[in-house]
Amino acid sequence: MELTGAEIAIRCLQEEGVEYIFGYPGGAVLHIYDALFQQDKVKHILVRHEQAAIHAADGYARSSEKVGVALVTSGPGITNAVTGIATAYMDSTPMVVISGQVPSYAIGEDAFQEVDAVGITRPCVKHNFLIKDVKDIAPTIKKAFYLAKSGRPGPVLVDIPKDISNHKTEFIYPGSVSIRSYNPVGKGDSAQIKRAVQLLLEAKRPMIYSGGGVVLSGASAQLTELVRVLGFPCTSTLMGLGAFPASDKQFVGMPGMHGTYEACMAMQYCDVLLAVGARFDDRVVGNVEHFAQVPRKIIHIDIDPSSIAKRVKVDVPVVGDLKLVLEQLLSELRSSKQMPDASDLAAWWKQVDEWRVKGGGLRYKNSTEIIKPQFVIEKLYEITGGDAFVTSDVGQHQMWAAQYYKFNKPRRWINSGGLGTMGFGLPAAMGVQLINPGATVACVTGEGSIQMNIQELSTCKQFHLPIKVVSLNNRYLGMVRQWQEFFHGNRYSESYMDALPDFVKLAEAYGHIGIRIDKPSDVEPALKEAFARKNDLVFMDFQTDPTENVFPMVPGGKGLSEVILSEDL
């Protein structure tokens, strides 16, 4: 039987086992929405802004091992989606975005709601396609899913002109896919693995630096085993949090701009650094020349060769799927029947522990007068038993959440690390809640960020998503204010958030529960009350100290050992 292109597109999603898609209709996707209407396997979540559709698909993918799927119309539909797509691209989220396009015969004529979707998204997708023939829809969607989830994952866009979604052809979903110009690697080169193990065994001051790749490849168990077998200190980037349990004593916290003192110092002064699925981002190593002043050997494992030796020189590159490579490393280590020198390692741990003491751990001066944001996160951690899915927006609150919520499992911490997209948290939480029904989902946000996608409170109402919004309301674009305080002579240019809405009333207007918390003594009761409400979205508006800053801090362009502690200022 012949089906229309629109029906085929939906059948493809069914074949891929897609349960939810996030989207927003419009002229160019009317046929696709019509096909969606006439089936019930793929459920559609109607967001209130296309950016939110992409972030929701992103949260859905990050908190599960699935590919997130979004559907948007042409023109403003796809341009609204671009921020979300770029966010997913920077953090390597597997995602398929289907966009409508003006009819193929109108392309190039500046038709109503025409934009060059493939051109606009090209630099922020793993790959994209413009469909030219209805026969190409099924094979292209098959390819899109394969590309999105294999190798280094990423978003893939399929742009379908309106006329083509109404043309008919036989539906055949390809059983397999092969792309001659794309062959992602699996295992690592065994000679490189041997060299890596040799270096690890000879190390006197070793360090393991784990990143988001470990979460993406599902290699958390392998990483944890390796860290324990070797007994080395382990640090994790913002994107990798949870892949190694944060409450483990071998965990030294995050490195980099707002990392711990001990993680920064150990990264700087180690003699062998094993980087696993991390990319030596500028927020992690700061100034690369400064980093290079200390000689150390670097082993770098990544699925994407272009991530290796991009910012720092690497001695032993290993290209491969982290899960397989870590298994190879473990078995090579076992068959070597050797262990790193115990006394060297003990001396190194003594040094790391001294740094721990000098850094004083993550700390802040609590108050009985004013709510400290860190205190809220500590209580959030306690009350949720450390077991919630936590999404975040971007700013100081994001850093405090990353520092003070001890993530012990992968895929629990969901934030926009690479692009730093304010407005990510709430829609991402929607995707997380949908794929993890019954789970506790908290969105840690700020009064600035939440207003970038606040309209999604309406989506949450419609789909009964009992997200707990933990808003750390400091009345400032706090992270901007902090930089202005430190580096721009306290000139708070446009960082005060004037004319804030009454968030309690706003939450209520959307049909949710709102609580305003002014006193430190009310923090715990409010959180308890909110999290006890299993079926309601509760918006908690914590009035926090507007002057609080995030520490430690490695200022932009500085080296890791130039980290500033709170009392240094």
């Binding site: 090209r122 630099p123 413009l130 110009s181 994407d304 060769p305 272009s306 030796a309």
Partner: protein, 163 residues
Amino acid sequence: MRHIISLLMENEAGALSRVAGLFSARGYNIESLAVAPTEDPTLSRMTIVTSGSDAVIEQINKQLNKLIDVAAVMDLSEGEHLERELMLVKVRAVGAAREELKRVTNIFHGRVIDESESTCTIELTDTCAKLDSFLHSIDRDMILETVRTGASGIGRGERVLKL
């Protein structure tokens, strides 16, 4: 250092802009870029002349390989290779000047492919450097147009870039 990179990619709409976009987005130099389909019409062969430090060239190679449409990449400058560029130059030349032009053209193994009363068009195929020196050898003020294709490159002997 100057590098000449050769690649095979899917002959699909948009493939060229992915490569060009990569160079501009990441701030890589692009001196010239030549592209056309191969004997297999589904594949295009591209030659890119670029320059940069070793680290930049390594990234360029990796980033090119990462493009889904790119099937194979070879840095020709890492081994023995040949490069040729085609140039057409239209020159205003009459009388003795035209005779001198033809003499220089002969030395460079070029050909006159069009002549009018006052102009003369020369075709020259050689390395980029040779084409440059030809342009330096004739009177610059006489040149009306210069059209160059950018270099095309190929490995010597058994050095083959094929799928």
